[in-house]
């Protein structure tokens, strides 16, 4: 089974999901998980592929969400008009932050962005005239019906909202697939594997890291905009560093630096959390140690581990068999080998 068929099956499964369940609650869990999956894809670009651990990611998601919330509730913009800005406003704010923070390397970048995340969180909480402060924004309208050749499509049912979110997640995955498969994606991976080497190859570090950062922020902001339209209530907690920790966990459990890993993590972990619901706020008593064990024993995540096994088995096969295999896998699958190269 090649990669394309696998992705196709996954999309079919996503499309069929509402037919398999008539429980609106399941749809809501899945939609919310998909929104965070979209944001996690962005985090994966800057952290998994480019190697810069951005701890302010949830802050940018909150900016996207608040852009929609403030414009629709306080300025009566239509949802879609506000939504168009939800990715751009974080990028505009992210530009100076990126220019400043990306000069720092490794741990310094992580610590600096953690502080930026706190500034964003405290800013949202304290700037009451703009953001309604700790009360939050209530009553964000549902996305308006969109006219299509087949009639208007409205988004007032959980099922319609689910398909909307699924559509954006699919689009986000496809764009991300194009990015990481391109020369640009290779450039990001080269920076992760060693920025001195990357620079000596003639890669402009600052420009490429900034590009990865802004793309990831755009994903976060768009996910935030969807979140605003889906949950219809916003509070400063959305910007909290704990949200970034959540997304980091999704990314890492699935496999950082892979396309499938963060998706599986972001969709799978919330389901697991559903089964651990008797633990409620204490779910991290399970997930905390799980994260540690995973980092120690499966540092490349589940997808990374499976791929490693697969590559190893392939490598141990006779050369003639390998030669017959078409090489179309290598663009999306060859990362594991490169990391240790």
């Amino acid at each position: 089974m090649n990669a394309r068929t696998g992705w196709g099956l996954l999309l079919l499964l996503g499309l069929a999901f509402p037919l398999l369940t008539d429980n609106d609650y399941h749809l809501t869990v899945m939609s919310s998980a998909s929104i965070f999956a979209l944001a996690t894809l962005g985090l994966n670009l800057i952290t998994g592929y480019t190697g810069q651990f951005n701890l302010a990611h949830a802050g940018f998601m909150a900016i996207g969400a608040y852009t929609v919330g403030i414009l629709t509730v306080d300025h009566q913009w239509p949802f879609w008009a506000a939504f168009c800005l939800s990715g751009l406003v974080p990028v505009v704010l992210g530009l100076p932050i990126g220019l400043l923070s990306l000069r720092l390397k490794g741990h310094f970048f992580a610590i600096f962005t953690m502080c930026v995340g706190y500034i964003l969180f405290l800013g949202i909480e304290k700037w009451e005239s703009l953001t309604h402060g700790a009360v939050g924004i209530i009553g964000i309208p549902v996305p308006e019906a969109l006219p299509t050749p087949f009639g208007d499509v409205s988004f007032d049912s959980p099922r319609a909202l689910y398909y909307l979110v699924l559509g954006f997640l699919t689009l986000g995955l496809w764009v991300m697939h194009r990015i990481v498969g391109s020369l640009l994606g290779r450039t990001f991976v080269a920076i992760r594997n060693g920025d001195d080497l990357a620079e000596s190859l003639g890669i402009n570090l600052m420009r490429n890291k900034l590009l990865a950062f802004l793309l990831s922020v755009f994903y976060a902001g768009t996910a935030g905009g969807l979140y605003a339209g889906f949950v219809r209530f916003l509070s400063p907690d959305l910007a909290g560093v704990e949200r970034t920790f959540d997304m980091t966990m999704y990314m890492l459990i699935g496999g950082a630096g892979t396309l499938l890993g963060p998706l599986l993590g972001a969709l799978g972990v919330p389901w697991l959390a559903q089964y651990l619901q008797f633990l409620q706020d204490y779910r991290f008593i399970v997930f905390g140690p799980l994260l540690i064990v995973l980092v120690i024993f499966l540092p490349d995540g589940i997808v990374g581990w499976v791929r490693g096994q697969w590559l190893r088995r392939r490598a141990s096969q006779p050369a003639s068999v390998v030669a017959q295999e078409p090489d179309q896998q290598s663009t999306s699958v060859g990362l594991k080998g490169e990391r240790h190269a």
Binding site: F108, A110, C115, Y118, I119, K126, V241, I292, V295, P299
Partner: protein
């Protein structure tokens, strides 16, 4: 003038807490080059252990502080052995994420045991002392004095004892230290234990003025990170200077600018300083 003196005292109080927390963080960073995000959870654990011993078992304040320091030291040493030791050779991202896992685990555990409520820690020192015409709470005096005694003791330990010298040696050159017959694992665990004990002591000294709750460590640790970046990661004098700078900036900022801005000041200062000097105020001195 009185208000000015009062702000100096406030700054000194805050600065002392920040110094103790930042010192542990910078020591561990110096040895392992790991930003230990779980350090704030050690701070929180120290406060809860002491709180439990004093409220449930009626222990004396000082005894409870000692027990808290000892148990958090053990906790930190175990964390060093079981979480960070196996990750010493992996990339920069993985130890950070393991530290986050540890942080989430400890915070959730504290919440499961003690609940999310805010609690007040009792202290035998509730009186006031008159200094230069202004009244100060005894606990504040105790906090500042305790912090400076601990800092001096740490400095003496690192400079004057053989065991302390092994920590400095390890921070300077890990392989060189190992070749000289220093047991690097044991020294790393010792460093974790010291950092945990300092965090617990800071928490028990500060908690009677503040409150005890599961998330109490998160803002302190974030500021401690800002402090050690400002002071130069792994530098002991840098952590002390940075802690005092942030403490004073916060107390004067809260008074002269706005009390809403208080928590922002450390981060804004960090952003400004790192924009001008990406390597920190003090170049990375080894301990």
């Amino acid at each position: 003038m009185d208000m000015f003196l009062q702000q100096i005292l406030n700054g000194l109080t805050l600065g002392s807490v920040y110094c103790l927390v930042a010192l542990g963080l910078t020591l561990v960073y110096g040895i392992l080059q790991v930003p230990n995000f779980a350090h704030g959870a050690f701070y929180m654990a120290g406060a809860f252990v002491a709180f439990q011993l004093m409220s449930a078992l009626g222990w004396n304040y000082w005894l409870a502080m000692l027990a808290a320091a000892a148990s958090v030291a053990a906790l930190a040493a175990l964390a060093g052995r079981w979480v960070f030791h196996p990750l010493r050779k992996s990339s920069g991202l993985h130890p950070m994420i393991a530290a986050i896992g540890l942080l989430l685990f400890l915070e959730a555990s504290a919440q499961a045991i003690w609940g999310a409520d805010f609690r007040r820690m009792p202290t035998p020192y509730t009186g006031m002392v008159e200094v230069a015409g202004i009244g100060i709470g005894q606990q504040r005096v105790l906090l500042v004095a305790g912090a400076f005694v601990l800092m001096a003791a740490l400095q003496l330990f690192l400079k004057r004892t053989v065991v302390g010298a092994t920590i400095v040696a390890l921070a300077q050159d890990r392989e060189g230290a190992a070749l000289m017959g220093i047991d690097t694992h044991r020294v790393a665990m010792l460093t974790f234990a010291i950092s945990g004990a300092l965090a617990a002591a800071a928490a028990v000294l500060y908690a009677p003025i503040n409150l005890v709750y599961p998330a109490m460590g998160s803002l302190v640790i974030t500021k401690a990170f800002a402090i050690i970046v400002i002071g130069g990661m792994g530098s002991v004098p840098g952590a002390i200077a940075g802690g005092l700078i942030i403490g004073f900036a916060e107390s004067f900022g809260a008074f002269y600018v706005s009390s809403d801005a208080k928590d922002l000041i450390a981060f804004v200062l960090l952003v400004v300083i790192l924009s001008v000097r990406p390597q920190g105020l003090f170049t990375r001195g080894v301990l």
